[in-house]
């Protein structure tokens, strides 16, 4: 049973006892004990994963880390958040996923127009099952709860992941000002409705919508 511990906010220590975790390729910084690293083609989802990920452009360079001891992961000094899943589904960008437990299944799903506005493509990665996953964000991530009476609107560039039963739609506030080049920089937003959690980062990716 892999045990996830945070060492500060930027280094994740995973204790392994003969089992394996899936991690972003190249994210190991140190380990003790015996470990082997093996690249998993197609995000470890077999031939079907390989093909879908190629087609969808949601390419995920993943390696399998297996062994006995403690392995430390970090990536470009980004902040790490642990998410515990109990049978629910987490939607996260492939580039924001650091480590997942083997019990979790990963896949791809269609996001529609939202993906295009985020500059992330039309597809996103899903993580399903029971276990822990570590997600990365540029700056410490905050978790916002969405409930029936309180829908949430976020900037597409700051969105990193969401879980629960949420409906999302892209809102645009493009008016004549935007067309004149006097936009506020907040012309596109994603609105979440339903019940669930949304993770956002205190930083914005460069997005198509963010320029307007």
């Amino acid at each position: 049973m892999a045990n996830f511990r945070l060492h500060g906010s930027r280094v994740l220590a995973v204790d392994l006892d003969g089992d394996a975790v899936k991690a972003k390729k190249g994210a190991m910084v140190a380990y003790d004990g015996d470990m082997t690293f093996k690249k998993m083609t197609g995000g470890g989802e077999g031939l079907r994963g390989l093909v879908t990920r190629r087609i969808t452009g949601e390419a995920m360079a993943v390696m399998e880390v297996k062994g006995q001891g403690t392995c430390y992961f970090a990536d470009r000094a980004t902040e790490i958040t642990l998410v515990r899943l109990t049978g629910d589904k987490l939607y996260v960008e492939a580039s924001n996923l650091l480590v997942t437990e083997p019990a979790l299944r990963t896949g791809t799903s269609f996001t529609g127009l939202r993906g295009a506005s985020q500059g992330n493509g039309l597809f996103t990665t899903t993580v399903e099952g029971s276990g822990q996953a570590a997600i990365m964000s540029d700056g410490p991530a905050i978790t916002l709860r969405v409930s029936g009476a309180y829908p949430l609107t976020v900037d597409p560039g700051a969105y990193i992941a969401h879980s629960g039963n949420l409906r999302q739609q892209l809102q645009s506030a493009v008016g004549w000002r935007t067309l004149m080049g006097e936009g506020s920089g907040e012309s596109f937003q994603i609105r979440f409705e339903g019940e669930g959690l949304v993770y956002i980062q205190p930083s914005e990716r460069t997005t198509v919508g963010g320029q307007l």
Binding site: K25, G26, V29, D32, F37, M63, A77
Partner: protein, 216 residues
Amino acid sequence: MPFTRINSKMVEARIVPGQRVFSQRGAMLAYRGEVSFTPNITSGQGGVMSMIGRRLANEAAPLMTVEGDGSVMFGHGGHHIHAVDLSGETLYVEADRLLAFDGALRQGTMFMGSQGGVMGVIRGQATGQGLFTTTLQGKGSVAVMAHGGVVELPITPRRPVHVDPQAYVAHRGEVRNKLTTALGWREMVGRGSGEGFQLELSGQGTVYVQASEEKL
């Protein structure tokens, strides 16, 4: 003369008359009191011979001598700073990661090839650190820079630690290092896991690892 941590990216050093502190040139942020900063053309201690040694070894980061009476704040490039207190041991660190150190520490350069022979030489090349590294020995403090914070991992004889060469910052104690490769046919066909080279540190001591794979 320990460094006082102000926040994760700034340290303050107390300067008293008669004691010198060496720091990377340009790393002073602010100071109080009467403090003078002298560029140090020999990049550290020793005379001209040490300078030539460092130049040849490419471990000659531009340093300055800080003297006087007061306190100085150091920081550089927004990098995280980790203060290491030495009490007689040797710290091995790359010259460009050194922010400031106590003038009482003995500075030297070490040929990487002397540990591990040919593999040591390859190690320097593979990690992009060159063939030489700087050593600091004695009693005093050292401020080391890293990208994204530092974790200290203990090394004990029964538990060697493997480190990604790009995330390696420094180490101290009686530690032997060796480059291990896990290259197989997968790497050859471009399907590697990105962890083909690792530094194996064994012995007794501590290794400092940064939370990033970026060089400074």
